[in-house]
Symmetry: D2
């Protein structure tokens, strides 16, 4: 028989992502609605180890749905990677009376949560919160839509100046292992070419494409490059292209951390609210070691282990093919 949950701990871990605050709000208010206490754990697993707990009531999450970042903060925690660290963390939870967890974050967050839950038999539900959209079991992760919109605003602005000067621009976007942002935002920005970690686009292919554009009188072009692209990042690609393609004025922009911030979009706020709400309902229903995700506009649960182990190619195939055709 499942023991009734009395006090839920909620934390954010890994890189911050827009929507985390909306999700914290949903966890806190759903918990309170269901008669639980809710405790915020500061700075992710580090706060669990260091006993940084803060009691949350309905007012603690007032007026945060629209804020980027995370009010609970986030940090790396090497100690939690050891059994001893997790044991210490668990003892702290116990002392505090926390008997269930909602952990919001990415791959590393899931791994930590899964271990803790298995080793010390505490129920845990994870919410996919990362701008990279690289988690199995959810069509979208918290922050991905906001990051895409931040990138296309930048592309729209750069296109103004690219078109005014007949220039070629290389824009590097986040994504060390995942080309999701590059593909979606590049498609939405009407980029002339998109370089991804998942697909080997040689420099020769890229130059051919740019030459074709130049022949058909395109006077400016924008190339989106995921930071994890095999050719070695925007500066390096620009250097290689410059050698063979001299008549163009080439500029590079690295968007960097501004992609992580910003007020979450409507999509991310609704997604964050649904998943936070569903996480608490899942705990209440006796679930554990699951990720709550969205599939086909419906909330679905996936085993944490399955989500962690599944690195399958996530990019939509029609998008890959289409993005090439639409920039002819």
């Amino acid at each position: 028989m499942v023991k009734a949950i009395k006090k839920i701990g909620v934390l954010t871990s890994g890189g911050d992502a827009p929507g985390m605050n909306a999700c914290i709000r949903a966890v806190v208010r759903t918990g309170i609605y269901l008669g639980k206490e809710v405790v915020g754990i500061k700075q992710g697993y580090q706060g669990m180890v260091d006993r940084k707990f803060v009691n949350m009531d309905s007012h603690s999450v007032c007026n945060i749905i629209q804020l980027g970042g995370t009010i609970l903060k986030t940090a790396r925690c090497d100690e939690f990677r050891t059994y001893e660290g997790r044991q210490k963390a668990y003892k702290n939870l116990k002392k505090e009376g926390i008997d269930a967890l909602v952990a919001i974050g990415g791959d590393g967050t899931f791994t930590g949560a899964e271990l803790l839950s298995r080793e010390f038999d505490i129920p845990v539900i994870c919410v996919p919160g990362t701008i990279d959209n690289d988690l199995y079991g959810s069509d979208f992760t918290l922050g991905y839509d906001t990051a895409n919109n931040t990138v296309i605003e930048a592309i729209d602005k750069i296109r103004d100046t690219a078109a005014s000067h007949d220039r070629l621009f290389f824009i590097e976007v986040m994504g060390r292992d995942s080309g999701c942002i590059a593909l979606w935002a590049g498609t939405a920005g009407g980029a002339e070419a998109i370089l991804l970690p998942e697909k080997d686009t040689g420099i020769e292919d890229l130059i051919q494409k740019l030459e074709k554009g130049a022949d058909s009188n395109k006077s400016s072009s924008i190339v989106i490059i995921a930071e994890g692209d095999k050719n070695g990042g925007a500066y390096h690609v620009a250097k290689l292209v410059k050698e063979k393609f001299q008549f163009y004025d080439i500029k590079v922009t690295i968007l960097g951390h501004l992609q992580r911030g910003g007020s979450p979009t409507s999509f991310d706020r609704v997604l964050a609210s649904r998943l936070g709400y569903a996480a608490v309902k899942a705990l209440e229903a006796g679930e554990t070691r699951k990720m709550v995700g969205i599939r086909g506009n419906r909330v679905k649960l996936t085993d944490l282990v399955e989500s962690i182990n599944n690195n399958s190619f996530k990019l939509e195939e029609d998008l890959m093919e289409m993005s090439t055709i639409l920039t002819i």
Copy 2:
């Protein structure tokens, strides 16, 4: 045997929606890529009746992916509602050599397209383009995400002033028969109450809710009201509430047509590109009288008749329940 298509006509009809231009671009470029000619039909069915055709090449749709509205314009057309009108339109299409159609719009657009296709045996694929998200067969319609973001930006701004003055705000959003915008944007905006056409919320219930908020020290509240709400619109609701709830300073804002415009979001641009691309591919594959929609992040075809006849309740049930809980 299916006759090969040589020339595709593309039109936008009904209310304009952000993403329509991105969709036109996708139709034109996919058509050209597949070796077809593409003709733009101006002002929807009216342009079909009046022969307002314009040849489109790859450059015609350059730099439009980010624009709101529709470069092909849109209009109502009473003539097209008659058999004679459609016959005249069909003759014009034939004279022009147009042997297939992509029609972007809502309910009324679909009905017109379905009739024309059936009566004159011309293949047609429809794309759901309306900010209302009220079409069966697609999780999302073009423009819905952009409209939601426009609404939450307005809510965020109004909350600044509501909180500074301890005020109660009623914000009316679009949606004569559909509460989709009200529900999503209200949820994303953290609205204290949401009134929808699909659900009967009496004034008494609303007042109870607002009183509860006042008791728990909420100093300001925002109520979202879909224009089709049974209580009769924001001004009327405000009047009724004022009578019973006098200690509050109550203000009304009608967002109106600014919800239709604006540069489409990343989500809408990608959706528009995918659906425009898929529409042409569907025609090429011999499909007709279908709507291309998105379901679970995959493109799916639905019979036009099925889409038109299906007025089933579309609001996500978990959202309905959740939106009440999260504003405690």
Copy 3:
């Protein structure tokens, strides 16, 4: 000899305006830098009467420069309009040890501050904070630039849909006595006509202008109407125009309170910082009953009485003439 100031009270009063928080931050931090204590007075003069004081340190104003609204809140206060009310307020200030004031707000705020200062000999400096830009002695008031940008974003969005449908739009903006927002935002939005309280534009003139536009093939038009326009507001103007000008589809939008909110623009944040800083420096220099304003990108002091009594026409004349010419 001027007595050294030890404790400064800061308040916001009247309608809230973006930039008020940036100004509070500047007052607090400049005060602390100069070795004073700073006390926030909540809800304007009401909080002075009701002793709602809160001690402010450097951290109290951390991360508020970008927030719309006012963290000190604002309210109307009828009691303060009486001598007895002001006496009570002054006694509270004295009890608290507050020996100087910075008051941020509009016309009414200035009048209250001037009276209190004169009657009870407490030094006071005012900062012009109102989106209406209707105060003598400063080229710009806090929030005006932000409000203008909010309005042009709305106009840009509405133009998308106006152009797609060949429609005529009437947009009502704030300004009961002042046409500043209407003139600047109308000019910046490329409005086809602008109706202001300061200038009598008859309906006949407006119709003539719209007809001229229609003749020269303008397919859509946008008319900006200040709420204080003599013709009686956007709904009324639309009704009158409809009677004589039937071939157009006419729509009305009332922007309302969303013009008050939003994160302040760069211009408003810098202005707010400069004026808050200058207000404290002016108190330190022994000034009283002055408004700090910006004239020609330099901070200038103006006597409060002069500012209050001067209702001179503030609209830039070149703008008035120009706005007519640029929409030909």
Copy 4:
């Protein structure tokens, strides 16, 4: 006696800036209103040399007031730096019947215009168009306000993630010789420190400041660095700081060309309209070799030579001092 002007040429030159299109629109429509013809010269002086002229009517500038970049494009032109180049350009102007010029751009644009006008006796008025705000004779240049707003949006986003991770961020903004953007946007963004080309801030001073912030419990800091700062750019400063200040996680963002683009703000659109309008009125009044600028919210003329030769320190001194105090 001044010869009446019949045909005005308008061009944009140097780096593009938001507001250039609004200015072109004002020049064209004011010219037409005064009975002149107006010709657009493409790609700045290069188009003058290569005869890239395009006739402009009222419709040519329809719906461009809100667009970033420049529809006339801009380019560098080495040929125009020689007498022979300018002679060729002048002959082309004469052949086309262009008897007066409006040139929109920066320092280099002014120098070219001044030479051409003096050597060949053709009247010319310049408009200050550059995001750098580094021209003498105008409080503000076209595009500066928009660039500042682009930068503070980036700062606001980066602060979300800085605060969530307790990080130190270095953000490099445009300004090779001018710290205007760094100072205004840094002030508006609440940056903890600002490094400018005009002021020598040693690394030691910076570190001291950051240490003081750390002592007073600031958990995150943002430092704005103009690209022309004497310490050698953001990457280099970050490297030097890292060596002495190891407990912080330090990140660098280079905003780059996205600062040049984007829809102009209300301020820039109004400024651009006023200056374009005033430029044509000045030509009509017989003026030449002048820059039209804004001083104290009034249009003022300045001799081009005076503007070119005057490199005086333009930064507002109160801002310099204040920006240090407000981040305590």
